[in-house]
């Protein structure tokens, strides 16, 4: 035998999954939402998404190559996913330089300071988004109107999101029934015909992508289900107690970034708990904090904050919530 044989510990066969495949799976799942966004917001959506992706990947490459002096791993697609998710959380009329700053914070601060993929405690895209949200509140809270602003970028006609309308209306003492006339109907909310961030508008497209990720076993159902369920129950209770001052649960589920957050951001591998039980705790926490911020907080929307807050609890959850071990409870029969 000329060639030397290989020796290694078992197992000797491996599954097909690679990090790259999983990451590109997420990208494919996000494409329908991107298409819908391009349909409603036109070139703005394209520009924002492109700038975000390009700058995220570029920053990852530069930081890995020149700061960390390691082999750049941009081909694994994780920077691509971060860039895409960051763009999805930004309004489509955001000036390009703000997006670049957001990408730098997302990749530089959110991911690379902790050692790169796998070590970051917080979802990088959300770190970038929240940084921008606090630093540039005016630009970050002006959303273009769908369809009418298809051909404009930063000079688009802007409108308020349904959540902002409800928040302002309720705090001004306007009853919910009157506010409902000012916001899009459920069908429009579901399809995505409303002002909002690039990728958060269409619950339909996002759920379709989520279904794709579920069938490919990229994510498990626990986190999205627990978030939806806890939001539904919490807002449902409030709505039943006082339907005049509270929006109904379906409105809360469909509006804002809840679907995007629940299906794509909270399920981020690195920053979510390891066990199904832990995922439930994580999801319920996100749901409750989101609703608390939306109803009692200063901001109309709170999904990003809720996810970041619960991200901080993940190490604790992982430490104390363990999977059920085989042979732990001996129940025979």
């Amino acid at each position: 035998m000329d060639k030397l044989i290989t020796v290694s510990p078992s197992p000797h066969v491996y599954g097909d999954d690679t990090v790259k495949k999983l990451m590109y799976g997420v990208v494919y799942a996000l494409l329908p939402a991107l298409l819908i966004s391009v349909y409603f917001f036109g070139i703005g959506a394209l520009i924002v998404t492109t700038i975000s992706i390009v700058s995220c990947v570029a920053f990852e490459y530069l930081i890995q190559k020149y700061l960390m002096k390691s082999e750049p791993s941009i081909s694994d697609g994780s920077a691509l996913v971060t860039g895409l998710l960051l763009a999805f959380n930004l309004p489509t009329n955001l000036p390009w330089w703000i997006i670049v700053i957001g990408a730098l914070v997302a990749i530089g601060v959110g991911k690379m300071t902790f050692g790169g993929l796998g070590n970051n405690p917080f979802n990088p895209a959300l770190v970038g988004r929240v940084f921008l949200f606090i630093s540039f509140p005016v630009q970050m809270t002006s959303w273009p109107e769908p369809i009418v602003s298809r051909l404009q970028y930063t000079d688009a006609v802007t409108g308020a999101t349904p959540l902002a309308v409800v928040k302002e209306g309720l705090s001004a003492g306007v009853p919910m029934s009157r506010l409902l006339e000012q916001i899009p109907g459920y069908m429009e909310l579901f399809i995505g015909y409303l002002p909002g961030c690039t990728g958060e508008i269409s619950a339909l497209a996002l759920l379709a992508g989520g279904l794709y990720m579920l069938t490919r076993k990229i994510i498990t159902w626990h986190i999205p289900a627990s978030i939806f369920l806890s939001v539904f129950i919490f807002t449902g209770i409030l709505w039943l107690i006082n339907p005049y001052d509270n929006a109904d649960p379906l409105f809360h589920l469909l509006s804002g970034g809840l679907v995007l957050g629940a299906v794509y951001m909270a399920t981020d591998y690195v920053t979510s708990p390891m066990t199904p039980k832990g995922m439930w705790i994580f999801g319920i926490g996100i749901g409750v904090i989101t609703v608390a911020i939306r109803i009692y907080g200063a901001y109309p929307e709170g999904v990003s904050f809720a996810i970041l807050i619960m991200n901080a609890f993940v190490p604790l959850i992982n430490k104390y919530v363990k999977p059920k071990r085989f042979g732990e409870e001996v129940k025979n029969g």
Binding site: P9, S10, H12, Y269, M274
Partner: protein, 443 residues
Amino acid sequence: MIQTFPRGGIHPPEDKFSAGSPIKVLPLPKTVNIPLSQHIGAPSEPLVKKGDKVKTGQWIAKCKSFVSANVHSSVTGTVTKVDKLMDSSGYKRMAISISTEEDQWEEGIDTSDTLNRNIVATADEIIQKTLDAGIVGLGGATFPSHIKLSVPKGKTADVLIINGAECEPCLTSDHRLMLEKGEELMVGIQLIMKKLNVKKALIGIEKNKPDAINHLSSLAKGFGGTEVRPLKVKYPQGGEKQLIKALINREVPSGGLPVDVGTVVHNVGTAYAIYEAVQKNKPLIERVVTVTGKDLQTPSNFMVRIGTPVSELIEAAGGLPEDTGKIINGGPMMGKALINTDIPVTKGTSGILLIPSAEAKRKPVVNCIRCTKCISVCPMGLEPYLLQQASEYKKWDIVEEERALDCMECGSCSYICPSGRPLLDYIRLGKSTVSKIIRSRKQ
């Protein structure tokens, strides 16, 4: 009703190329090297010396301690060496080398093929003959069988489980044995039932072997108390604890034995060996070995004398393919890579698998992305990613707390990991270190 174990498990490609080829008897090799520790426990002590003439089936090494097994000559010939020889890991262990002459069996051994259904042996005789014949668990663990046949005081077994799952991809030796030696196997099961004094025996077979399920089901009608249960195809179905959970829904407690939940598990190969030992007086000197591989000319199943060099098996199956990257003793999930083909077949060799060089290399290792896949596939409910980290950074207390010792090294975690991380490598390291620590603590 199709049963399976509830937690974890994976579905690797089955690749059972040799399922259709009947068991062929391999011609006698020129020399055999019979290792003295083919089982778990203390090595046995040689009873012969250089120059001695031995007959086939002659007792050549004796077990000294309780956890050990006898060894018999698998051929007739002259002992050429009683010395240290390379075992499958390359380290040297005691072995007896015999140069082969014409086969001449030791007296009292029934070498005919006629089925002997008539059970006359008493329970004590059954266990004594199992011990004498040097029978060990032929599923791969090679735990001495006479220990498993004796239920410890204060414990009772009410059901016998026969493991015909053969969940390892590629291997077909148990499958062929069930098809071709079904009746002998059934008698073997009756013998074990008699010894353990149980009234019920369940044979678990994965659903990808419908012919074996049908064959044994029809045979089972003629034997009281035995029943064939089809199982879903899922690795590691053939793990002892998983099989018990799947068939009778009992969970063996951590660190416990099957008998703690009232059952005993034996492999089909072991049951057949017990039949041969008790009914035919034949010691364990040969076994069925699958020789398979994608590029191999004729993937086959052979009846092989213990001690035959692996190279002879590969020759008989069409020769070593040009592009062989890895030679594995056992299946692809739990088998052991060999360093060359001079290694002899032992009691625990269920198959020889040849992997082409393109598939022999591991995936590149990247960061853990905490995708939780390793947790979801672990059949023991452990957290492989955590055990791996703790073991890599030598946090042995965490490794122990997180119950690394429960790990049965099935390799599902390493199989599924998208980052290609060597989870099992480190868990194994953690296991051995932790058991050393525990042992030193006891002293």
